[in-house]
């Protein structure tokens, strides 16, 4: 299926080959690491100590600065995983199945963070750690979808077959994403409606909203960093018999 597509620019092909991706991303890593560190620490200090407390919820509201960004990235990360799976199925790009596999544990971890912080926020606010309402239950389904993709990779010894099966599951699971987004509008729920909407002004005061934006940016940078690190480790594993990987290991440096 290796059709030549001269319409695509050269960087696309570099990005599509494991070796090209590996060498291309090496210089990005320190920048992504520095950006995530600065944004996450800065945003956390701002949100914990300097943003005003919520008039109704008091200081428990400060959990929003990790709850919303992690839920945000857990959802966006599902698209990353499903789109990577679709590209792998359609164009048989080696790297896209690796990206799909790399996105699964990352998304699962972020979903877990949003569920745990949501429970810890729910106790002082609603009086309970957990309710089986639409938003929370659909997030739990998202967590299991991520676990399913991880489990499928363990179930097959053949990487190609695992990729295909996991991609199909990931694509079917995208049906859950609009349900999560809309759950707070469609069903009566304890969960408050979305804080950030693209079409409307934020419902928060700027002094509370700005640190949230910083934290979201930080989570985005960290997501990109971990996704790339996961893909690079996967490349080393799958390309272990190719010459350039053996050379790389002998030289001992990245």
């Amino acid at each position: 299926m290796a059709r030549t597509r001269p319409i695509m620019p050269a960087w696309f092909h570099r990005l599509g080959s494991p070796k090209g991706f590996y060498s291309m991303t090496t210089p990005w890593l320190p920048w992504l690491a520095a950006a995530s560190l600065v944004l996450l620490i800065g945003g956390a200090v701002w949100g914990l100590g300097f943003a005003p407390a919520d008039a109704k919820q008091g200081n428990s509201f400060r959990i929003i600065y990790i709850h919303v960004p992690s839920a945000f990235l857990a959802l966006a990360g599902y698209y990353v995983m499903a789109v990577a799976g679709a590209i792998g199925l359609i164009w048989r790009m080696k790297l896209s199945f690796m990206a799909m596999k790399a996105a699964a544990p990352l998304g699962a971890a972020l979903t877990l963070i949003s569920l745990v912080t949501g429970a810890l926020w729910g106790k002082p606010t609603w009086g309970t750690y957990w309710v089986w309402d639409a938003r929370i239950t659909s997030m739990l389904v998202l967590f299991f979808l991520y676990l399913g993709v991880i489990a499928l990779h363990y179930a097959y010894t053949n990487g190609e077959a695992a990729g295909k099966a996991a991609a199909v599951l990931a694509l079917v699971g995208t049906a859950n994403i609009p349900i999560i987004y809309k759950s707070v509008d469609w069903w009566y729920t304890l969960h408050q409606p979305a804080t950030i909407k693209l079409t409307e002004a934020p419902s928060m005061h700027p002094s509370m909203f700005q640190p949230l934006l910083v934290m979201i940016a930080g989570f985005y940078c960290l997501y990109a960093l971990v996704l790339i690190l996961n893909i690079r480790a996967e490349i080393l594993h799958r390309e272990r018999s190719s010459h350039w990987v053996v050379e790389l290991a002998r030289r001992g440096r990245s």
Binding site: G58, N59, R250
Partner: protein, 68 residues
């Protein structure tokens, strides 16, 4: 923009919400550290296994390379 708490003790207590807030941030920190550390450790393990392999040994797989 100023510090919202009168004292460090008040900052830890968070008006009674301290345990919930700090546990949330601690849990998040642990998961994020694990997320960054695990691919780095895996890559190091894979490279060490490859570097140990004799030149020309071909496709002999060591225990480390068989992981996942």
């Amino acid at each position: 923009m100023s510090f919202q708490f009168d004292s460090l003790v008040a900052f830890y207590a968070m008006g009674g919400h301290g345990p919930f807030v700090w546990l949330s941030y601690l849990f998040t920190l642990m998961v994020l550290v694990w997320l960054v550390a695990s691919p780095l450790l895996r890559a190091r393990r894979l490279r060490a296994a490859l570097a140990r392999r004799r030149p020309g040994a071909g496709h002999q797989r060591s225990a480390e390379e068989k992981e996942s």
